[in-house]
């Protein structure tokens, strides 16, 4: 009731201020009249009564003011008047307002954009029920996370009691036929429990059942909403329908909801049960069931912590049971790694993200410092105004409130514009972002970003308003009126100098970071990948269909067909005009071919008696002319050629590093080795070739063995074609695809890209961070130089009289130039020194992103110092030049 009265009465007085004011003055007037009447009734004369009443009441206006100042509406009223005054102030100084608002918009926008991108990866819970209970479980290999075998999963799932459910999965790329062109889909081979672990059920149809995840079980799939929409037009009758994948019919049993975000494999659109064969799992280790190539995820029981789960799995790992025999390579003796899913997906990108967050905070700080600087300059000009207001009875608090209102209005304008900057920034970030960035689909400017931006805006408004406001001391308020035009550069400007120093220091930190990254990138791209990437087109060709199956009735027939198809396709490609050379390989350098499909154990004949000997090598199964097409250097011997057929002696090329580490000072040619299975004839080394960068320019993967596709123990079903072209390689892609399809139109061709593109993509994450730092660095440089210019130019204006006097007393132009330049350069120098210390500390964060450059790289530091010195010299020069032209006779007369 009373709240309602508060509200309605207040509102009434707010809406009709005049009536409310009149009522108050009427009541006060009436009070006075009653008092006079009472005085007269007591026998006083009318004059005495009036005098007595007035004395009792005091000043009528002050009583009215006292009564009127009651109520919440007065706060609103004074806020409104503050706001309109602030608005007028900003309107009257368009230059100041535009620069400040733009600066703030840039700072707030950039930080909101970065926050929006980082929030889903680092902070926002994953879009699953109780996401904190979902754990990634890895085997350990040389201390790092490594994939796990189905046999290990089977044992852990059976023995663990801290996990509700566990699941394993691996990529699955089935070819869907039946349309005009075959399409290779991205999918996942999963254990039946997969969606239960994740906690999301199909929106249509049902989840997989355990009875479907058995050897030779029914062929069923669950579709993503995207695939359902793209291929089946959201037809609800999709359930039970059969679709043709890899030549087999699969029944659709479910469709996932459109909100389902698959953080484990964002591109996956189709899922099928793994259907491993468990019949011989305890007796025969030489099967796919014991290959370490699965990723594993588990959901902890409620109330169980990650540590408890990890501890239990560790105990299981170190306590083998005889009903679960383990082979040597899946012994789990090095324990297991258990990470929360959120940490796991953010793991690789964390250093880059933290670096970017740090950078954007620096940019925001610089933006604030600049605006504070501008506000300080303005409050110096407004000292007279404040003095007048103080003389008229405004308290210091009231003036501070006015200034804070102004800066809040300013930051609110900046924040509004900043939301636009953030929206554009997020779009740019998504476009720029490396493919390794998790949860890309979840990145958007949403309500949380808005709240973030609002909070930043408010903080910025308060900070930028309070610092200049508190600069005005109460004594100054009183002195201001007398001295408003006479002040020389007083000691109050130390704050502004400190701000400029801060700005320069922050700019140094950002620029040094950007410089280090830039030099790393240069170093990286000057690394020789071991082949010539220009004019090289690559594409992945997959074989799919039952004609390639090796049936028991005709062993090897399918593989022979597969090999024949690839050979014919290669012939067709070589016939395309513009093609200089062409070849294929099972593993393509700098592509996203996963390590685990391309590395195999190998050992040389010389070490044969030592059962522990052996090492992992990249196995390249290549066609003749592969090394020639790639321009991989042949160091000795010969390359794989047409003579290396299935019936010829088994030939192998080894990489230079492998030759050096195994045969120091000896001739490796003619030596023999096994790659993969040991029950086959030895391969004989026929040549040594240069090392090739396989996974990244930054990583050495020197141990490699090249075999002829004719002579490997299995026919790869997917090969990458490499085509050396005369002109633009991308332009030839359609003709080459047609050539391959002319051999068999049902074989999918994917990942068509020039080698230059692959090279760029392989360093996308570094490039992404570098781009952001470059942008932030340039912004910082511009803002810092504007800041230096602003303070010097303000100080020259304030010191015009002093300069005039100096000139009149005989100071030369050079002296005056030196005076102003010296003032600016001293500030810059101090800022640079502090900034260098900051950069030394900040570069620690960057270490993981650097390549071939020390974080203390002298050239970068010197370059940044030189750059800042130059820019600030330019910024100082203009005010200094103005000071030189001060005419003493004019300035002195003005006074």
């Amino acid at each position: 009731m009373s709240l309602w009265r508060q509200f309605t009465h207040g509102l009434r007085s707010l809406m009709n201020r005049q009536a409310a004011d009149r009522e108050v003055s009427d009541e006060v007037q009436q009070y006075l009249e009653e008092a006079i009447a009472a005085g007269v009734a007591c026998g006083l004369s009318i004059e005495d009564a009036q005098r007595a009443a007035r004395r009792e009441l005091g000043s009528m206006t002050s009583v009215q003011e006292q009564v009127r100042s009651y109520g919440w509406e007065n706060a609103v009223r004074s806020l409104a008047s503050d706001l309109s005054y602030a608005g007028r102030q900003l309107r009257n100084n368009p230059g100041f307002t535009i620069i400040s608002v733009m600066t703030l918009a840039l700072g707030i926008g950039a930080s909101t954009a970065i926050f929006s991108a980082v929030n889903p990866i680092l902070f926002k819970p994953l879009p699953y029920p109780h996401p904190g209970r979902i754990m990634m479980i890895w085997s350990t290999f040389e201390g790092a996370r490594s994939e796990i075998a189905f046999g290990s999963y089977r044992e852990l799932a059976a023995r663990s009691s801290t996990f509700d459910s566990m699941a394993v999965f691996e990529p699955w790329q089935p070819t869907m036929t039946g349309g005009t062109h075959p399409e290779r889909l991205e999918g996942q081979d999963v254990s039946a429990s997969f969606f239960r672990v994740v906690g999301v059920a199909p929106v249509l149809g049902r989840d997989f059942e355990a009875s479907e995840d058995v050897f030779d079980g029914p062929k069923v799939v669950i579709l993503s909403n995207r695939l359902w929409k793209r291929h089946f037009g959201r037809d609800p009758a999709i359930l039970g329908r059969q679709i043709k994948l890899n030549g087999d019919f699969y029944t659709v049993v479910g469709v996932m909801p459109s909100t389902y975000e698959n953080v484990l494999s964002p591109a996956a659109e189709i899922w099928t049960p793994m259907q491993y064969d468990t019949r011989e799992i305890t007796t025969n280790f030489d099967t796919g069931e014991w290959g370490n190539h699965l990723r594993m995820v588990g959901r902890l029981k409620p109330g169980i912590s990650r540590e408890q789960g990890a501890q239990e799995l560790d105990e299981i790992a170190h306590d083998p049971w005889k009903q679960f025999p383990r082979p040597r390579w899946a012994s789990l003796e090095h324990g297991l790694i258990v990470n929360s899913l959120q940490d796991d997906i953010a793991r690789g990108v964390k250093p880059a993200l933290f670096a970017v967050i740090g950078a954007v905070i620096l940019v925001l700080t610089i933006a604030c410092v600049n605006v504070i600087n501008l506000l300080l300059a303005r409050s110096a000009q407004r000292r007279g105004e404040f003095a007048v207001r103080a003389a008229l009875g405004a308290s210091r608090g009231r003036i501070v409130r006015q200034l804070v209102t102004e800066s809040l209005l300013l930051s609110l304008l900046g924040g509004t514009l900043g939301m636009g900057v953030a929206a554009a920034g997020v779009r740019a970030l998504i476009a720029l972002s490396p493919s390794g960035l998790p949860r890309l689909d979840a990145i958007s400017v949403d309500a949380v970003s808005f709240v973030f931006a609002l909070a930043v805006t408010t903080l910025v408004g308060l900070a930028t308003g309070l610092i200049p406001a508190l600069q005005i001391s109460s004594s100054e308020l009183n002195l201001g009126l007398q001295l408003s035009s006479r002040r020389s550069a007083g000691d109050h400007s130390w704050t502004r100098r400190a701000l400029v120093v801060t700005e320069v220091a922050l700019a140094v930190i950002l620029l040094v970071s950007a410089g280090l990254l830039l030099r790393s990138m240069r170093r990286l791209f000057s690394v020789n990948p071991g082949f010539n990437p220009t004019h090289l087109l690559t594409m992945q060709v997959q074989t799919s269909g039952h004609q390639f199956d090796d049936l028991a009735s005709a062993p090897g027939a399918g593989s022979a067909k597969r090999r024949r198809f690839f050979e014919q396709a290669l012939e067709a490609v070589r016939g395309v005009p513009g093609v200089q050379q062409a070849a294929f390989t099972s593993v393509l350098p700098l592509s996203d071919d996963p390590d685990w499909v391309s590395t195999y154990g190998a050992h040389f004949e010389k070490d044969d008696r030592d059962p522990q000997s052996g090492f992992d090598v990249f196995r390249y199964a290549v066609s003749p002319e592969y090394c020639e097409t790639m321009r991989i250097t042949l160091l000795s011997g010969r390359c794989i050629n047409e003579g290396d057929t299935a019936s010829a002696p088994q030939a192998a090329l080894i990489s230079e590093s492998l030759a050096k580490s195994e045969f120091t000072g000896e001739n490796p040619l003619g030596r023999r080795l096994h790659v993969g299975p040991t029950n086959r004839p030895w391969y004989t080394v026929v040549g040594v070739v240069g090392d090739v960068k396989q996974t990244s320019l930054a990583v050495d993967n020197p141990d490699a063995v090249y075999l002829s596709t004719e002579q490997t123990w299995f026919a790869d079903d997917t090969l990458s074609f490499v085509i050396r072209t005369r002109g633009d390689p991308a332009a030839l892609a359609p003709a080459i695809k047609e050539a391959i399809w002319s051999v068999d139109k049902d074989q999918p061709i994917v990942r068509v890209a020039t080698m230059d593109d692959l090279l760029a993509v392989s360093e996308a994450e570094r490039h992404f961070v570098l781009t952001l730092f470059e942008i932030f660095g340039i912004v910082a440089l511009v803002l810092a130089s504007v800041g230096i210019y602003g303070i010097l130019s303000g100080s020259v204006t304030e010191r015009t009289r002093e300069i005039g006097v100096r000139a009149a007393l005989g100071a030369s132009r050079r002296d005056i130039l030196a005076l102003v330049l010296g003032q600016g350069m001293r500030l810059t120098a101090l800022g640079i020194i502090i900034g260098l210390c900051g950069a030394l500390a900040a570069s620690r964060v960057l270490v993981t992103l650097l390549f071939g450059v020390s974080r203390l790289d002298l050239i970068t530091y010197l370059g940044v110092v030189a750059l800042l010195a130059l820019v600030s010299a330019i910024a100082c020069w203009m005010p200094a030049w103005r000071a030189v032209r001060v005419d003493p006779s004019i300035t002195l007369r003005v006074e």
Partner: protein, 111 residues
């Protein structure tokens, strides 16, 4: 010039107003005069504080206000105690009595 303090004890103005109005509806000056009379000049109410307090009590819903003719046919803003106001008076009176008697006891106590 040893003037005695006639300020209303801090925090009691509301109670005094409510008590005064519990007798009959009154306008601002009437309340001030009545407080002065009954307290035999011990308390003098400051007009500004009184009028502000009246506004506050009205907002709180303890008083109703309305412009009416006085007995000497002038227009004045008359305040009436509401039901909520009566209740509030009881609360404040009880509270005051409790505290005043405590103070009285403390002052009486001798070493």
């Amino acid at each position: 010039m040893n003037e005695q303090n006639t300020d209303v004890i801090q925090g009691t103005l509301d109670m005094l107003i409510l008590k005064t109005l519990s007798l009959e509806p009154m306008h601002g000056f009437g309340i001030a005069r009545r407080v002065e009379q009954i307290s035999q000049g011990v308390f003098k109410v400051n007009p500004g504080s009184l009028l502000t307090a009246l506004q506050r009590l009205e907002r709180a819903g303890w008083l109703d206000a309305e412009w009416r003719q006085t007995e000497n046919s002038r227009r004045a803003k008359f305040y009436t105690l509401t039901r909520a106001g009566k209740k509030q008076l009881e609360v404040e009176t009880a509270d005051w009595t409790r505290r005043a008697s405590a103070i009285a006891r403390l002052l009486k106590a001798e070493g």
